[in-house]
């Protein structure tokens, strides 16, 4: 008997999305842990104690961009899981859209390092926000494809849940776009907003009762 020959994807959704989710979880866990390499051990001439202390304080933009990125990747991870609770089966297009999304997630350590080193530069903040927003837009694309015409989601999913799930992604894109606009008013305000945006996703959502968090 040939096991995979009789494999009807529609009848074995759990297996299919489980594999995709496990790979995704791996990329999430690795990308989030690699963020720490954005913070470099300072080089201090003659191992001067006062100088080392000053340099450790001076790394605060690095600590904050580490925290901001850890939080927003956590948000994407939680959102990805919530989304795949609603997706019943996979296909080649979904697989590639998801891989494009993972590529964006794996890219985030670079703009995070950049922001940690050049936090006082408008271009670093804009680059960071743009990278998060591309990630968000691709993530929305995954959801739009899977949920459009109920293509790959459980057939009884309430349309309200479909809409709110999409809206929660797009609102993040709006937030980071505001952060970009803010750089032309105040870099400090923009940087503060970067730390606050992930906190929005701490708030309970109306879709929570419907989806396993």
């Amino acid at each position: 008997m040939i096991f995979p020959m009789n494999n009807d994807l529609a009848s074995k959704p759990a297996v299919t999305t489980t594999r995709l989710e496990a790979f995704s979880d791996g990329v999430f866990a690795i990308a989030i842990t690699l963020l720490i390499f954005g913070i470099k051990v300072p080089t201090v001439a003659n191992h001067d104690a006062g100088e080392l202390k000053r340099q450790l304080w001076a790394l605060w933009p690095g600590y904050l961009s580490f925290a901001a990125s850890f939080a927003i990747i956590s948000v994407f991870w939680i959102g990805h899981h919530q989304m795949f609770q609603l997706i019943s089966r996979s296909n080649r297009t979904l697989l590639w859209l998801n891989n494009a999304f993972l590529m964006c997630v794996a890219f985030i350590p670079f703009p995070t390092s950049l922001l940690g080193v050049y936090s006082e530069q408008r271009v670093a903040i804009i680059f960071y926000c743009a990278a998060i927003n591309v990630t968000g837009v691709v993530f929305y694309g995954v959801w739009a494809y899977a949920s459009g015409q109920a293509r790959l989601i459980y057939s009884g999913t309430p349309s309200r849940v479909v809409k709110v799930a999409g809206w929660r992604i797009l609102i993040g894109v709006v937030f980071y776009s505001v952060a970009i606009a803010l750089t032309f008013v105040s870099l400090t305000a923009s940087r503060i907003l970067l730390l606050l945006i992930p906190l929005f996703y701490l708030l309970p959502s109306s879709i929570d009762p419907h989806i396993e968090t």
Copy 2:
């Protein structure tokens, strides 16, 4: 039929905490393995043999801080598993508290590198101990939230087990605080203590018979 719509968290605890634990295990395994990057291959002019040998010996603070951090992250990993043996279900707050804890764990490679390079500096030792202590306090927060008013733990968990589990975290915080205080007496004594603290958790605990180690 919509699978996640009828999802009663209280009735499917294993699934919920399994996912959270798998992600946590990933971050633990990655953070613990990345510690090795704190030890840099020395640059030796003209590839001088004697000089290379001296520099490899001179890296001993790097080897020891690698070992100390590997051991304490192991302690957190074992403790995290013991804790989640007692936690029956998850919610949004627990998820975020756990992510805050993982952020602290993912941060540890930085103070470990720092201690390896600047082991003779009080500020490096204090920074290292402070990083571990913040991790410990957030870890205690996870437990305090989950076990407070038996919020998310198995209802029959003996209150003695709840107390001992918390006490074992806080004693670590006390130990590292002592290591900070010791830096004002003897840096060597403080560094030795950093190596000894994880060994405390090798000792059998009264809660072991109740929890899968």
Copy 3:
């Protein structure tokens, strides 16, 4: 009763290849996420804003080689899973062939970094293509060994599926060989081909209905 003593591999294929696949997935996920370290945060004297912007633009070969490698490792990952859907059991030779393949996958971040830094150099493009092709040839070796004389695959696997699966690997080797040849005509044409090759695997294949994607 001794569990592993009575272990008949042929009767427990799922367990055997599951373990091998989980380890492989780990290496895939890590290698693909480590690619980002090929892109280094630029060092800008005096934190000059215009200079930082120019340098971020100048990194475009790094962004493109990151994307090209992320895509081709994804292709290998998907192909590896499709292949192991057809493989029913493992043995020592398959284990080592698979490990040799994983070694090639784990090597890819190095030529990717190289290509990002020296994209205008023929030698960097050839080195990159050669690395991918060695990976492809070893991957073909895994399949040739497993499917040869139906050694380790499900006995009823249609010979057409066996052939198409092998052909899809070898066509990639041909593509990258063309990219090598192209470097003697136009480096730009060669680099464009590197970005296009993974897209070939986005196309549906005649073996898809037979294999879980």
Copy 4:
């Protein structure tokens, strides 16, 4: 009902060692993939083509030490799985012995980088062999503890299997000790031996029929 309270380790061996094995597999997969960072992209003044080519050739000790370490970590990974097929249950001592072993595995990328850069130095070869041997000795310790007085292994495991499993670890320690001794005769011979040792484990073993490979 409290799930973990009634947890009898002896009656649920699969669960206990599964968790420990999953964490170990994570560390193995990460350590083996991080080896690639031992090979640094060369810095070539003025992006000179001939010079880049020469430098890529000059990295051959790095490629070989990458391959040697990838192979020997694979050997440890396979051996670890074979060992845990025979281990029926865990305890605190086994957990810590296993963590000490994983610490040694996670350390291997450092001597590998060192050997890649300073392959013509006796001290680098000795350091590399010593690191592998400490790993091997600790691995033997795990097995000696688990199998001694049939402490944690399946009660019917033939004593011959216990002996051969231990012997296969110790023979590796002997091999690397010979490689150390050889450095005083010929560095080249020693380096060749480092590449050959893992191949020994490609040979079928008399314990294979008894253990799932």
